[in-house]
């Protein structure tokens, strides 16, 4: 299974970029949890937990490298079942934070199944698609794929976790496109869905429809359009995030010197999670953010290279899934902190505090490394 030649094929650029991203994240968490308001710093607590998350992620990578990724395809239905089971479990014994059920408590650990669900769905959906390759030319042939994704997506929607639901949809489009589904159909479904979503939000906003979004969800979703409409409520995070990033300027205020954070203008429990990019923007400025974005770009570029030279379609689809997931996270997370996307609350991969997210993303890296190790022998 684990041969010497495989080790030689480890993709070192990807490994290095991942390590740099993780380090970047640790620095950001340290800064975001280090309060200047005269209180005791919480940084050691969060850093320790994040490092534990990273460690678990590394264990996951080693575990994944030991098996041939094609073996995963053989148990894809089982994994799909486990995935649904975990998500259903959240509904039953979920732990509520901020009005949403997202956690399952296992001893001292809190597991967020919706984070792991993203990686599991990439693994299982890739198998689902490879078996249908070449037979994805009509809406009828694509329908099973939509149902396959819709079931876990609805379970997550119910928590409610709109952000992760959207990630699922992004993964679905990215992988189906790569698997050869007809682009024209995909594009029309995408545009139709977008128009429908905008229509529904518009209807709720202007005609007071009560369905399907709760009032608070609607407020959050539309706050970015005009944050000063509700500066104390739904618009608060957006305004404060914009002020943080904008005031950072080109070079930033310096690490650990952000006033938006120090004075708690940004909500404390979001400084190190969903809004961590705002912390970086304030303290490291445009320069720091461009460095981070460059690292992300390298990461995604490596993923695409791996996708291109995978030995089979299954490997390609795995890599394409990870690319869709990570790039959509970037777009939505950074988009929301800079006020061009609705606030949906999904983390910045490798950077945001959160063990489940780190574990899931590192597992994804493990998959990519695995695909790359067993690639076909061709050279560009």
């Amino acid at each position: 299974m684990f041969e010497r030649r495989h080790l030689k094929n480890l993709d070192f650029p990807l490994i290095i970029v991942t390590i740099l991203l993780l380090l970047f994240g640790l620095v950001a968490i340290a800064s975001a949890t280090h309060f200047t308001a005269g209180e005791k710093s919480n940084a050691p607590y969060y850093l320790t937990r994040q490092v534990v998350g990273i460690f678990l992620g590394l264990v996951a990578i080693l575990f994944i490298l030991r098996i041939d990724y094609n073996d995963l395809a053989k148990i894809s239905w089982g994994l799909y079942g486990i995935n649904l089971g975990l998500l259903a479990l959240v509904d039953i014994l979920g732990h509520t934070t901020l009005g949403a059920q997202r956690w399952i408590k296992i001893g001292p650990l809190q597991l967020q199944p919706s984070e792991l669900a993203k990686v599991l769905i990439i693994i299982t959906f890739a198998d689902f698609l490879q078996k249908r390759a070449g037979r994805l030319n009509s809406l009828r042939q694509m329908l099973p794929c939509f149902i396959y994704i819709a079931i876990p997506a609805l379970l997550i929607m119910k928590q409610p976790d709109l952000g992760t639901t959207l990630v699922f949809i992004a993964i679905m489009f990215g992988m189906m496109y790569t698997a050869g589904a007809r682009p024209a159909i995909l594009l029309s479904i995408f545009l139709g869905g977008l128009a429908l979503a905008i229509g529904v939000v518009y209807g709720q906003y202007h005609f007071g429809w009560k369905w399907p979004l709760e009032e608070y969800q609607l407020k959050r979703l539309t706050a970015f359009l005009n944050p000063t409409r509700d500066p104390l409520g739904s618009g608060y995070q957006v305004i404060q995030s914009l002020v943080a990033i904008g005031s950072g300027g080109v070079f930033g205020k310096g690490l650990f010197k952000g006033t938006q954070i120090g004075l708690d203008f940004l909500p404390r429990d979001e400084q190190h999670t969903d809004f961590i990019f705002a912390v970086l923007g304030e303290e490291l400025g445009l320069v720091g953010e461009l460095v981070l974005l460059f690292l992300f770009f390298l990461f995604l570029y490596r993923c695409l290279v791996i996708a291109a030279r995978a030995k089979d379609l299954y490997g390609t689809l795995l890599a394409a899934g990870v690319v869709s997931m990570v790039s959509f996270h970037l777009l939505v997370n950074i988009g929301m902190t800079t006020g061009i996307m609705p606030v949906t609350g999904i983390p910045l991969p490798f950077i945001s505090y959160g063990g489940s997210s780190i574990l899931a993303n590192l597992a994804a890296v493990g998959l990519l490394l695995n695909v790359n190790m067993r690639r076909r022998k061709i050279t560009f």
Binding site: G246, V250, L331
Partner: protein, 672 residues
């Protein structure tokens, strides 16, 4: 799939990724290069501030929409706490201008010195500042840097203390309430309903605070507004109460108390409730003594607090006596009568002889008419309130059936109309056991143990076998004595006694019912057996006039009592206001028939002073007797006879309701 196709697709994905990066980078460049100056200014410490705009609370109005309680804007003077030195200097200046007392000034000074107020929040100096002082401050603006004048809503009670116990009051939210309501968006300094309807309907009344995000200069003056969210007024309550009737009820209660005090100087407290018998709507509700809720707009003094809440004052004014438990005395007799009729232990025609007292074993229970009523049947027994009749039928019927009927009519059952409901109780054997068994057992177990321990130590030091034996015998004797004592006490304090049933039959003993429960029970007799849930709020309306919530009459139950039995009891109550009836003198010359019952509760000796206390006067009635519309219950504490105290108040309220001329009212005394 061909490698070429795959590579094409990967290239498209790469293009999409590049697009995402282009979007994000351009947005960042826009924010951090071109807009940076704007945001940097905004982020400078203390420059951007949220100023909360408190929302006006909803109003409380009567059934015809007339405002009873509303918010009024008042001026608040505060100092922007940017640097301590300036704040304290301004405090000095302001305290002269606003004529603060040294204590008030010192309190604020301490707050500033102890840094209890965050540096970006204003320090409040005085609330409800009169207009002329506000103008004076405005004139001296230049010499008062950092001083700001805000407008804030404050509760205004248009009728003073009227209906105080019903509307309740509002005060600044405390830490406990804040912690409990964390997720509802309260913040320190917010107003919060503390009592009465203000508390019960807090979530409807509170409204939604607005906010301004502003840019301010170093002196704390607003330079520019960055965003505004208008406050939304809370919803208003429309009550079932009619202000005109309520006003009269309050006057009547005050007048009656003054009148009764001539004979019974302690008659300083009382309550009265009037209900619509066809709906359960509360039309008027009075409790005395009362208070002015507007005192809670400022800090209340220690004396005020004591007069309102302290158990050491004889009549704490905050207590809503319309919802407090009282022994119902003879107003309970309809329940005993119904229980007996239902159980078949008596019929309407059963005649019982009253020689002036009732004998049970060695016990003698006197009738209030010690000379005896002679032969009485049910109707006459109610008319003249013959105690012997009710002792007899009560004893025959038994406590369980009486308690069942009492509960059937809602007695002893919380109504939930206001948060301040007193303890009420239908006494039963189970209740007595529950309350007394455990403490008695524990007490005696301790006694047994003490005896054992005492002898154990004695036996341990005994010099010989004989002495030991003797001690053991003595110990056993002492234990046996204690056990016998326990059994005796158990029988007396834990087991229900026949005399208790007898006391209960005439509404004495442990019965405790609120005037509201009494009014509702009489209303149920009046309307033919439908127990309604009493209610105070007819609807809740939004500021735009739309109805948010509407309350309709709710039937708790049809009481399980035969209609003909209710008719017999009604007949007895009608007789109470006729001829030899205990309340006949009250209703002389009335154009409508009133059905009523008087009650005079004996309170025994004051446990503190040991002196015999004056009786509580109670009265229940409904009218008109042939087509009942309203029911009323009244109580006057230490008011003596029910007919001459509570009866007068209830009679006058009925007269006010039906618009009856008061010129020919009776003397209001009956010798019960």
């Amino acid at each position: 799939m061909e490698q070429k196709v795959i590579e094409h697709k990967i290239r498209v994905l790469l293009l999409l990724v590049v697009m995402i990066f282009v979007i994000l980078v351009s947005r960042l460049v826009y924010l951090q290069v071109f807009q940076s100056e704007k945001y940097r200014t905004l982020s400078e410490q203390n420059r951007v501030r949220f100023i909360s705009i408190p929302a006006p609370r909803g109003e409380i109005r009567d059934q015809k929409g007339r405002v009873i309680v509303r918010d009024r804007p008042v001026y608040v003077v505060s100092i922007m706490n940017i640097n301590e030195e300036n704040t304290l200097r301004m405090l000095d200046k302001l305290s002269k201008l606003l004529q603060l007392t040294p204590e008030e000034k010192e309190k604020i000074r301490q707050k500033v010195l102890r840094r209890e107020i965050p540096s970006y929040e204003p320090v409040r100096v005085k609330k409800d500042v009169p207009m002329d002082l506000v103008t004076r401050i405005e004139e001296h603006r230049e010499e008062l840097p950092g001083v700001v004048i805000d407008v804030e809503p404050q509760r205004e009670y248009l009728y003073g203390s009227m209906l105080a116990h019903v509307v309740g009051y509002v005060r600044e939210i405390n830490e406990e309430e804040l912690a409990k309501n964390k997720d509802k968006g309260y913040k320190p300094g917010d107003r919060f309903g503390k009592a009465g309807l203000e508390r019960k309907y807090e979530e409807y009344l509170r409204g939604e605070d607005g906010a301004r995000q502003v840019e301010v200069n170093v002196q704390g003056r607003v330079v520019k507004s960055l965003g505004l969210k208008s406050p939304v007024q809370g919803n208003s309550l429309i009550l079932t109460i009619d202000i005109d009737l309520q006003k009269k009820a309050e006057e009547i209660m005050d007048r009656t108390l003054l009148e009764v005090q001539k004979e019974f100087p302690n008659a300083k407290a009382g309550a009265m409730v009037m209900l619509d018998v066809k709906t359960g709507k509360i039309l008027a509700m009075v409790s005395r003594p009362t208070y002015d809720p507007s005192i809670f707009n400022r800090e209340i003094t220690v004396e005020e607090s004591r007069a309102l809440f302290s158990n050491e004052t004889p009549f704490p004014a905050f207590t809503n006596r319309a919802l407090a438990g009282y022994a119902p005395a003879s107003t309970f007799k309809m329940i005993t009568a119904l229980a007996a009729l239902e159980a078949g232990t008596v019929t309407p025609s059963t005649v019982i002889n009253c020689p002036g007292a009732y004998r049970l074993g060695t016990g003698i229970f006197k009738c209030w008419a010690t000379w005896g009523h002679g032969a009485v049947n049910l109707v006459r027994a109610l008319q003249v309130s013959c105690d012997v009749y009710f002792y007899t039928i009560g004893h025959r019927t038994g406590v369980n059936e009486i308690a069942r009927v009492a509960k059937e009519f809602g007695l002893g059952q919380p109504t939930g109309i206001l948060p301040e409901e007193g303890i009420t109780l239908v006494p039963t054997p189970e209740w007595k056991r529950k309350v007394n068994e455990k403490p008695l057992k524990e007490k005696y177990e301790k006694i047994y143990k003490e005896i054992e321990e005492k002898y154990q130590s004695l036996i341990a030091v005994a010099s010989n076998e004989q002495e030991k034996k003797q001690l053991e015998k003595k110990r056993d004797q002492e234990l046996a004595r204690a056990r016998a004592e326990y059994n005796e006490k158990y029988r007396w304090y834990v087991n229900w006694q026949a005399y208790e049933t007898i006391n209960m039959s005439i509404g004495q003993g442990d019965n405790l019912y609120s005037p509201l429960q009494l009014a509702n029970y009489v209303a149920t007799i009046a309307n033919g057996g439908t127990l309604y849930r009493p209610y105070l709020v007819e609807k809740i309306v939004a500021p735009n006039g739309k109805t948010v919530k509407e309350f309709t009459p709710q039937v708790i139950r049809k009481v399980a009592v035969k209609p003909e039995n209710l008719e017999w009891v009604k007949r007895g109550m009608i007789k109470v206001t006729e001829g030899e009836g205990t309340a006949s003198s009250l209703f002389v010359g009335w154009p409508i028939k009133v059905a009523a019952k008087t009650g005079t509760a004996e309170l025994g000796r004051d446990p503190k002073t040991g002196k015999e206390r004056d009786n509580n006067g109670l009265f229940v009635a409904f009218a008109p007797a042939d087509d009942p519309q309203v029911a009323v219950a009244a109580v006057v504490e230490y008011g003596g006879h029910g007919g001459s105290s509570a009866g007068v108040a209830a009679r006058d309220l009925l007269a006010a309701y039906f618009g009856i001329e008061m010129s020919n009212r009776g003397v209001g005394y009956s010798p019960e």
